[in-house]
Symmetry: C2
Subunit: 192 residues, 2 copies
């Protein structure tokens, strides 16, 4: 009995190691550098071991995305909890979101740019993703304004943040004015 427990523990340890290593490698050298060979070498196992934990590379990306979603939810909640007043809260949320995307570009890609095989916006969406959206909704709902559905407002606000995050990081927007863009967005979108 205890032997089996130990094995299961070791197995889940190794699974966490795979995900953490994939994330680390992606942040260091980009997702293109995360090949199954390199990943296997870093965890000091052979390639096929990866496939005993995950169906394929896509599922590994998905696992990194779920980790990231939980982390982002926590970051957003921490930032908004420290703010007093709805307006300050929305600004703090926007900065926290964009800050997370900037500090963890590979994780952000795993969540929203790459195909991690995850389903979104329906009932079998994984819990961490639903919770990340909930974290946004908690602070943005109060800024939706009269007659506007909080969920819909959160979607629009989120999409705007996502657009800023991706376009800025891809060099599509001049990097200097980032803060002014955030202020303009919050000014206009949020009713507070």
């Amino acid at each position: 009995m205890s032997v089996q427990e130990r094995k299961e523990r070791e197995r889940s340890d190794r699974e966490r190691l795979i995900v953490a290593t994939a994330r680390e490698l992606a942040e260091q050298q980009g997702w293109d550098a995360v090949t199954t060979r390199r990943l296997a070498e870093r965890i000091e196992y052979s390639q096929p071991v990866l496939y005993s934990h995950f169906r394929g590379k896509r599922e590994i990306i998905g696992a990194v995305a779920l980790d990231g979603a939980a982390e982002m939810a926590a970051a957003v909640r921490a930032a908004t909890a420290a703010a007093d007043g709805p307006r300050t809260r929305v600004t703090a949320l926007a900065r926290a979101y964009l800050g997370f995307a900037e500090r963890n570009p590979a994780v952000y890609d795993a969540m929203f740019q790459l195909d991690g095989g995850l389903t979104f916006a329906n009932e079998d969406t994984p819990e961490p993703l639903k919770d990340a959206f909930a974290a946004l909704l908690e602070s943005l709902g109060e800024a939706a304004g009269d007659g506007v559905h909080p969920g819909l407002f959160t979607e629009v606000f989120w999409a705007s943040l996502h657009g800023l995050a991706t376009l800025t990081r891809a060099g599509r927007l001049p990097p200097g004015d980032a803060e002014r863009r955030v202020e303009l967005l919050v000014d206009r979108l949020a009713v507070v």
Copy 2:
């Protein structure tokens, strides 16, 4: 002399064929299916011919992106020209932008999601890209509101549209409420 002209003409015909075929293949089966082998087979030349026109696959994606930018600029201008009044114009622009992204997902990816080796937001940005941004600016500038720089406003509005386009298409947002999200965005962001 005329022989050389004919050769140059044939060469640029073939280059257009490559770009058009890449685009077609990408729209039909996604960019993953656009391999140099398949592309070469479709244009009925061998692989190395591609490399006599383009430095590599990335440059082909870039060429598709430039085509797409010109097309999008035209679509946006056509939609806004048909609208009377600033408010109607902004709505028409938003619908035209999102419509283009929805109808040409592969081209949209080439422009904003994939690496086409293009530079953005500086002086050596290719003309079609600058012009596409200019097309947005033409109609959005008047909706910036007092004291807000039209370029900055256009960037924010564009980013929001981009976020809606990508998240919707990737299944990150429920597809049903697309129109309501557009209305909310225009309502809040545009000062008209």
